[in-house]
């Protein structure tokens, strides 16, 4: 039964077609992670800081961004931003779609990262911060040199969760016509009138798997490096 529909050669022939579109996937995910992380750290700072207003704003932002389905957010940005810009006489209709996709995922990743960072920073004993300022580091230096490196170890697995999810979310960009590898897979399937979609998607899954393994290795390495001197519940 299976052999009637399944033809492995479609898997191999899909790779060369998919690979060129990996660049778009990387570009979108890479830029979004970059900007999103920076914004997310600021949000986390607001959440942990003294100012009640800043905290409430950051919390509200996170709620809305986390709770909005990506596709809706994408449409909001894609149509809303040019519309708003239009009100100020700016024509953004010819801006590349990738820009809107990156804005969308940046907004969303910032919200997710702010929670990753907040939980990680809270997990670091306050004594570490206290010791740092007591030797004359400014609060900022204390965070940068002592607290954040330790929090980073805690954050890494969750950060990887977010990063890998983002690599996959690029698929959404296809909705507004930006073609990444998922989009390309869809196009291949459509070009075959939906025949042998399974093989194409298996090829896609394999590609993603390789990426995920590489990312996993890299983060594992970082965890080991940054985690020096940690004494956790591991190992009985």
């Amino acid at each position: 039964m299976i052999e009637k529909y399944f033809d492995a050669s479609y898997i191999w022939s899909s790779f060369p077609q998919l690979l060129p579109f990996l660049g778009v996937t990387f570009l979108v995910a890479g830029l979004s992670v970059l900007f999103g992380t920076a914004a997310g750290l600021l949000l986390a700072a607001a959440k942990l800081g003294q100012s009640g207003t800043a905290r409430r704003l950051a919390d509200g932002y996170t709620t809305i961004m986390r709770c909005t389905p990506s596709i809706v957010l994408l449409f909001l940005v894609y149509y809303g931003v040019p519309f708003l810009a239009g009100q100020f006489g700016l024509n953004l209709h010819d801006v590349h779609t990738a820009v809107f996709v990156v804005i969308t995922f940046t907004l969303q990743f910032a919200a997710i990262l702010s929670e990753v960072a907040r939980s990680a920073i809270l997990a670091i004993n306050r004594g570490q911060y206290e010791a740092a300022v007591s030797v004359g580091l400014s609060p900022l230096q204390a965070y940068r040199r002592i607290v954040l490196p330790q929090a980073a170890v805690v954050a890494l697995p969750n950060f990887a969760n977010g990063l890998i999810a983002l690599l996959q979310e690029g698929a959404l960009a296809y909705t507004i016509g930006l073609i990444d590898i998922v989009g390309k897979a869809n196009l291949i399937v459509a070009a075959n009138f939906n025949a042998h979609a399974l093989e194409v998607f298996i090829a896609l899954a394999l590609l993603y798997w390789v990426l995920s393994i590489l990312i996993g290795q890299f983060f594992g390495f970082l965890e080991k490096r940054l985690g020096k001197g940690r004494r956790t519940v591991k190992a009985a």
Binding site: N125, G127, Q128, E130, A131, A132, V133, S134, V135, G136, L137, S138, P139, Q141, R145, I146, P149, Q150, L226, K228, G229, R230, R231
Partner: protein, 251 residues
């Protein structure tokens, strides 16, 4: 010169410091004695703004700060002039012993890395840890950690060092050594405020002894005064149980 005025601090309904006044001259070694929970640690923490006092002020040579409303800049200035040896060490977990000591020098004081390393090495040498420079805190015994904490403070050459039970995890042999180091630093003009439970220590190094209980300074004076001629009943009571007949046990 270090001066506290009317320092108050409550945790919720619990009033821990009920108006503490204290004046310490430059180069003095002042020992604070007092029962557990009397607010000794809290007092030190308030000076370093690790805890925001509810009221009170402090003066550190020319710098006068409101302990409740100090600005960020003032806070940083105070911290730059002081060093803190924590009761529970609080070593930087992600740094080796040497890096623990270097951190404040390089990042806080902007001393070039090589000079800082040399300085840190000397400080660790003074407390007998030359062979543990590259060990992370988890690889150190309790006493070794405590000594890194002491070295970290000493290396900074601050105006004032706040010690919170700096020798609790040390064997008497080492206590003697650390004591020697402290004496020498005091002679160089560093002011020291030391919370300790070791009477011997108090007697040997203190230029003044302060007895705290229930969030207030009960009595203060020279070691001879406090140990020999305590004025307050509470002090006498504390010392009676602390320095019993057996202390003179001869070997």
């Amino acid at each position: 010169m270090l001066e506290f005025k009317e320092v108050r601090k409550s945790f919720g309904p619990l009033e821990v410091l009920k108006g503490v006044d204290l004046t310490i001259s430059k180069g003095d070694v002042v020992v604070i004695l007092g029962p557990s929970g009397s607010g000794k640690t809290t007092l030190l923490r308030c000076l370093n703004f690790l805890e925001r006092a509810d009221a009170g002020s402090a003066r550190l040579s020319s710098l006068e700060v409101d302990l409740r409303n100090a600005t960020k800049k003032e806070v940083h200035a105070v911290r730059q002039k002081t060093a803190f040896v924590f009761q529970n060490y609080n070593l930087f977990n992600n740094k080796t012993a040497l890096e623990n000591v270097m951190e404040g020098l390089v990042t806080g004081r902007r001393i070039p890395k090589e000079a800082a390393r040399e300085k840190a090495r000397r400080a660790l040498d003074k407390v007998g840890l030359s062979d543990k420079l590259d060990a992370y805190p988890v690889q150190l015994s309790g006493g070794q950690q405590q000594r890194v904490g002491i070295a970290r403070a000493l290396a900074l050459d601050p105006e004032v060092i706040l010690f919170d039970e700096p020798t609790s995890a040390l064997d008497p042999e080492l206590v003697g050594e650390v004591l020697g180091v402290m004496r020498q630093i005091a002679a160089d003009g560093t002011t020291m405020l030391v919370v300790t439970h070791e009477m011997q220590f108090a007697k040997e190094v203190a230029s003044r002894v302060v007895f705290m209980d229930g969030g207030v300074v009960v009595e203060s004076g020279t070691p001879e005064d406090i140990f020999g001629r305590p004025k307050e009943e509470r002090t006498r009571q504390f010392l009676r149980r602390v320095l019993p007949e057996e202390y003179n046990y001869s070997i």
